[in-house]
């Protein structure tokens, strides 16, 4: 059975949601405290949303130095799958596992509402069960979601097909002012994915939305057929 470790920092707030979503997908999921440096045989690591360390200094800047992040660096370097959601995406950027940074929303307001996004790439461990171009409705809940990177990095992300998810912006600008309407990206090896929207808050019809469940079923079904995550 796929083992999904969900990290918990002081200030995490979507950690239990992520465990439940992974369980719903048929995985064995458990929390790992940020002071631990053992991921306990995890196939997949989820860095959940929240406000680790109160977002002090910059969102994700302090969490990056937690002992557990050393283990995540090794897991990622060995090709292990990592999904950072919201604050998890911010932490992955601060840890240099993903390029760029997430800054204060362009309109300054905290955004907490469903948004429409488009799956751009299905060749990651987390988006393999979607169709390319598929539109999802997922909740966002962030104050610092404006993706910023240098022109060189943005060109590289586009050229290498590393923009995994984009905000659908037919009605206007992206909700937070992100460059290229970026809602999610992956690393060059495609095993590390960061997203601002929250699939773990949309995995069950009882939540009003199950568009996000496939982020968790994709690694589970791949593990069941190949023994790898």
């Amino acid at each position: 059975m796929l083992r999904v470790a969900v990290l918990r920092f002081p200030g995490s707030n979507s950690d239990v949601d992520a465990v439940r979503a992974a369980e719903r997908a048929g995985a064995d999921s458990y929390l790992v405290w940020h002071r631990d440096s053992d991921l306990r045989g995890a196939d997949v690591v989820v860095i959940p949303g929240g406000f680790s360390y109160g977002d002090y200094l910059r969102a994700g800047a302090i969490a990056r130095f937690s002992p557990v992040m050393q283990a995540v660096q090794r897991h990622a370097a060995d090709g292990g799958a990592v999904l950072g959601i919201c604050n998890g995406f911010q932490i992955l950027c601060e840890a240099h596992l993903l390029p760029g940074q997430l800054l204060r929303n362009a309109q300054l307001t905290f955004l907490a509402r469903p948004v429409e996004v488009r799956i751009e790439r299905t060749d990651t461990p987390f988006t393999a069960d979607y169709a390319e171009g598929e539109r999802l409705r997922l909740p966002v809940a962030h104050g610092d979601g404006r993706y910023v990177a240098s022109e060189d990095v943005l060109r590289e992300l586009e050229a290498e097909g590393r923009v995994v998810m984009r905000y659908v912006t037919e009605e206007g600008a992206s909700p937070n002012g992100s460059a290229h309407d970026i809602a999610g990206i992956c690393n060059a090896e495609r095993n590390v994915v960061g997203l601002m929207p929250h699939p773990e808050r949309a995995f069950d019809p009882v939540l009003g939305n199950s568009d996000g469940l496939a982020f968790f079923t994709a690694p589970a079904s791949r593990h069941a057929t190949t023994g790898r995550s």
């Binding site: 910059r58 940074q101 800054l103 204060r104 990177a149």
Partner: protein, 83 residues
């Protein structure tokens, strides 16, 4: 020798600074129409024990590169005084 280090971290020129814009609008509302180009950054002070002023500055710059500033979007200025 102990040195007091002042670090000023600012959003890099050219990067949208919505906080600066909001403060600028608020100043205009209060009648300070002459205020322009407002940008909001962060100031950090710390004491560093070092052999020399240069050494203290070198260590402070290393702290900025590793933690205090994000090189993707921010620039920093370090000044060092004795004491």
């Amino acid at each position: 020798m102990s040195y007091r280090v002042h670090v000023r971290v600012m959003p890099r020129q050219g990067i949208l600074d919505p906080q600066g814009q909001a403060v600028e609008h608020a100043l205009a509302t209060l009648g300070f129409q002459e205020a322009a180009g407002v940008r909001v950054g962060r100031a950090i002070e710390l004491t560093v024990d070092a052999g020399s002023r240069e050494d203290a500055e070198r260590r402070a710059r290393a702290m900025c590169d590793k933690l205090l500033a994000n090189p993707v979007t921010e620039d920093y200025l370090v000044s060092v005084e004795e004491g």
